[in-house]
Subunit: 335 residues, 2 copies
């Protein structure tokens, strides 16, 4: 059966485009609190699981050894926009490990954000690996690897101890088997593993609640989530959805996007986590979906609810500032 | 019933994202030669119908009065990338009408193409209306309006004689009624009208074949299509899909994209035209769909067929140049 239409894009009085997808909300025990679409389908979490991938940075002792605070931990979980503060902090993290950007194996790219790209084009001949949206995550990998005496060469590869360790962490959190047959290569060259959407949500619910986790991991997980909530700019950047979602209820919402229309989120105080994917991989729709799903859990708080719904249902204007249509969630979120 | 999945995006050995859509191919009589999905659904053609909107430029006599050649006519039908040659020619067309860019009501925006945007950012403080992807179309409107003594003020508005004339042309070509209730505002501020996908295809089939058109219109329509096929760079730009599709069989394929996953195309020598829409509005999928649909009609010509299928099914690499997956059309195109 086809996944339901979760987001509509209107023009004039008509619906111009439709986005289907699947959403699941679970608690720490993995109980489904809300869902739409095929939540058992395998989904590549892409960058939405960076907070899981950052656990070794803390568990290895590297974060403490380098006195990393919320900003560094948030950047380790980030898909940042390559703004100067992001690139600079990634460089500082590498310096703490005694290395520099030459060890990064993520590749380089211009910012995906137009205003940032324009500034970059004016001051840079070309972007460096520090500007890669994943440079903070890679800096975290490298700090953990250096701290535990691992050879850095090829740290992005499936068989490297860095990735084997992350695989183990993610298998433990999601309960899903990760292996070559459900593995793809991510934009930054590390492995990404397709897991059932529900399992992905459960992994984040465990991180947010500590349910079922050893004390050391529970503490590390909560520290990463708290760091992201405390420094939302370092998780994404100016005007980015992750940043704005977390700013809508400071210290209470964790949210992280991934390529191809994925979003993971958590509301630790309510003991729940969200995983969703827009079937067609479109970010605009995934952003509406996560905002509307989060809003369901803030119905008693009109200001937060309104801020989230304003991200779920938003107006689109053209180059002259004329209102041309809207992006809006469907009744699937009303139930 | 849901529209069928027409394009899949893979990562590793798995499908990561799916694009649904509808495609129709008709001949000059409106007979359906191939279809998938709901071809009676109303679709905003957006920029895919610019060649229809350019008919008054020729029929008014303005194009001949200004000695416009294939490049000017192609630019009038274009969604260009804002490369220097595009912006310059739009300015030249306006100068022929005795006006300048200050009369353009399309608004300004940076190029959607990253390499062009980077160059723009390095030489421009901000883009002008000449850089708007629709500046050639607007220059065509303005040339026709000036030539026929129309007041330019507000030429983008529904009730202005320029738009009323275009509405009449499009109603005549598509056979669909265009009015306020199926009207939206396009990115460049002019009206865009939702019409059944099949009617849109039929309109282009009439343009490509002349079937059912008065001789003057048939000649003007063919002149525009021939101009686009002769100057594909001026219809889009460097590395753009429209340009590359038309270059795959020089002088034999007409192709024009529109926002939100629309494509119109024609093969005049075979007397057919294509209209399609990716349900979710994604360009990458619409490009695969149109290439695969066109390829069906070049099965006897291996080189053309291969060039088109290489656009339909294409490899994706990450920042390090590693192959991570593919964009590919589904069996819906095999029948």
């Amino acid at each position: 059966m086809a996944n339901p239409v979760l987001v509509e894009v209107t023009r004039g009085n008509l619906v111009e485009s439709r986005h289907r997808g699947m959403v699941v909300v679970v608690d720490g025990d993995g109980k489904v609190v809300f869902s739409a679409g095929d939540i058992d389908a395998g989904v590549f979490p892409r960058s939405a699981c960076k907070a899981m991938q950052a656990l070794p940075l803390i568990e290895s002792g590297a974060a403490d050894a380098h006195l990393f605070g919320n900003r560094e931990l948030a950047l380790a979980c980030s898909s940042h926009s390559g703004e100067p503060a992001h690139a600079r902090l990634a460089g500082t993290m590498l310096a703490a490990a005694g290395v520099d950007e030459s060890v990064l194996e993520c590749g380089a790219h211009w910012s995906f954000e137009q205003p940032v790209l324009i500034n970059q084009a004016r001051v840079l001949e070309r972007p460096t690996a520090l500007h890669n949206n994943c440079s903070g995550k890679h800096a975290g990998f490298i700090c953990a690897a250096c701290h535990t005496g691992k050879d850095l060469e090829g740290y992005v590869r499936y068989e490297h101890p860095v990735q084997a360790e992350i695989r183990g962490v993610m298998e433990s959190l999601t309960g899903a088997a990760l292996a070559v047959d459900n593995c793809g290569v991510d934009g930054c060259s590390i492995p990404t593993y397709a897991v059932p959407l529900k399992s992905l949500a459960h992994g984040f619910a465990k991180m947010a609640t500590g349910v079922g986790l050893a004390p050391v991991r529970a503490k590390a997980a909560r520290r990463l989530i708290d760091a992201c909530m405390a420094e939302p700019f370092f998780v994404a950047g100016t005007n980015r959805a992750c940043t704005r979602l977390m700013e809508a209820a400071p210290g209470r919402i964790f949210a992280k996007t991934g390529a191809e229309g994925v979003f993971c989120a958590a509301i630790p105080e309510q003991g729940i986590a969200i995983a969703l994917k827009c079937e067609d991989g479109t970010t605009r729709a995934a952003e509406s979906m996560v905002a509307a799903t989060l809003a369901r859990f803030f119905r008693e708080e009109p200001a937060v609810h309104a801020a989230l719904m304003a991200m779920a249902n938003r107006s689109m204007s053209n180059w002259n500032g004329i209102h041309v249509g809207d992006i809006r969630v469907t009744d699937a979120f009303a139930a």
